[in-house]
């Protein structure tokens, strides 16, 4: 009786052992791919951010992905890859996208355009009404006239979502 139970137990071990012995033949590379995703995370996040900006801008412009491909002089397959957000884009492609679509991808977008961004601003004056003024901004500080009063302003932030609008806080 004891012998029979012993051989049953040996059978139990054998199935798992048999499996583990063969497992190297068909293990997926999932664990390795997973590690790769983690390793490339910072770069992937940048690619994803660019993809989202491109898709939003295409909608705004009413462009298809095919139109973008034509304008960029690349294949539609390449554009399809860009908008998935997994491509490791070359600097050249990033510059082309930035110039063509007028979207912030590189630091140069803000550095070059600090003057051009002076189109229309919403100025919030503490405890006062909101004033809209068109101003020219040479550097990051300027003055405007609001309700007959000259106030000085400091560049507080540029919103990524609406780069043409800059919120100013009153300096004093």
């Amino acid at each position: 009786m004891a012998t029979r139970f012993l051989s049953l137990k040996q059978n139990k071990m054998t199935n798992k052992d048999k499996f583990l012995a063969l497992v190297s033949n068909e293990v997926t590379d999932t664990a390795a791919r997973n590690k790769e995703r983690i390793k490339n995370r910072k770069r992937l996040r940048e690619s994803q951010g660019i993809a989202l900006k491109v898709l939003n801008r295409l909608d705004e412009l009413g462009w298809t992905q095919k139109r973008l491909a034509d304008e960029l002089q690349v294949s539609p397959q390449q554009v399809s890859k860009i908008v998935k957000g997994k491509e490791n884009l070359t600097l050249e492609t990033q510059v082309k996208l930035q110039e063509l679509l007028d979207i912030p991808i590189l630091a140069s977008y803000y550095e070059k355009n600090i003057n051009r961004l002076a189109e229309q601003f919403v100025v919030t004056i503490k405890a006062k009404t909101i004033v809209q003024k068109t101003v020219h901004v040479a550097k990051d500080t300027s003055t405007i006239t609001a309700k007959g009063k000259v106030v000085s302003l400091k560049l507080a932030s540029t919103s990524e979502k609406a780069p043409r609008y800059t919120q100013y806080d009153v300096a004093s």
């Binding site: 139990k12 199935n15 798992k16 048999k18 499996f19 583990l20 063969l22 497992v23 033949n25 068909e26 293990v27 997926t28 999932t30 664990a31 791919r33 997973n34 590690k35 995703r37 983690i38 995370r41 992937l44 996040r45 994803q48 993809a51 989202l52 898709l55 939003n56 399809s80 908008v83 998935k84 957000g85 997994k86 979502k161």
Partner: protein, 177 residues
């Protein structure tokens, strides 16, 4: 239907092979690639009437990263998979055979992996979905996963699988073919 090993001897996944295709990706990789596809997530959000599309996309990308980290940790530290998977039916007894399970990293996780629990710390992933409603039935994405769980369970039972040992026996035979 084929079952492949993600990391032995604890996590496995189904591979649903399409007709005419040589081999498909396993469900974990297929879903992870989808959940990292910005265009897919954005279209999904728009089609489902999400208000803040950009935020939704960013949240799902973050959720995917959390799953990747957890899976990596579970593999390297032998942390039990029960940290991620729970019974689909809250009322289920712990000893239910081939229990249907859902995986989520936290209450905030907007993504789900679904699996059959074959034995203690042994799971076969059957699919996954973006969680859009409280009950699985209330959204087509999650609803579509229920028959996949049923089919997988039936498939396993059909092949004499009811616990870890019978699973290894079946798997060895499958791989031998």
């Amino acid at each position: 239907m084929k079952i492949v090993t993600i990391f032995e001897p604890r996590l496995f996944s189904l591979v649903y092979q399409q007709e005419g295709e040589e081999s498909g990706d396993n469900e974990y990789d297929r879903l992870m690639e989808l959940w990292m596809d910005v265009e897919y997530l954005r279209t999904f959000a728009i089609e489902n009437g999400v208000n803040q599309v950009d935020q939704f996309v960013e949240d799902r990308l973050t959720d995917a990263e959390t799953i990747q980290d957890l899976l990596d940790e579970i593999k390297d530290t032998e942390k039990p998979l029960s940290h991620y998977f729970r019974a689909l039916d809250n009322r289920e007894y712990a000893t239910t055979e081939l229990s249907k399970q859902k995986g989520k990293t936290s209450k905030k996780d907007g993504l789900r992996l679904y699996a059959i629990k074959v034995d203690d710390d042994m799971y076969v992933i059957t699919g996954g979905a973006i969680k859009m409603s409280y009950k699985m039935d209330d959204h087509p994405g999650t609803q579509a996963e229920l028959p996949k769980l049923e089919t997988a369970k039936a498939f396993l039972l059909e092949h004499g699988v009811f616990d870890g040992d019978s699973f290894f026996e079946f798997k060895t035979e499958q791989d031998d073919k």
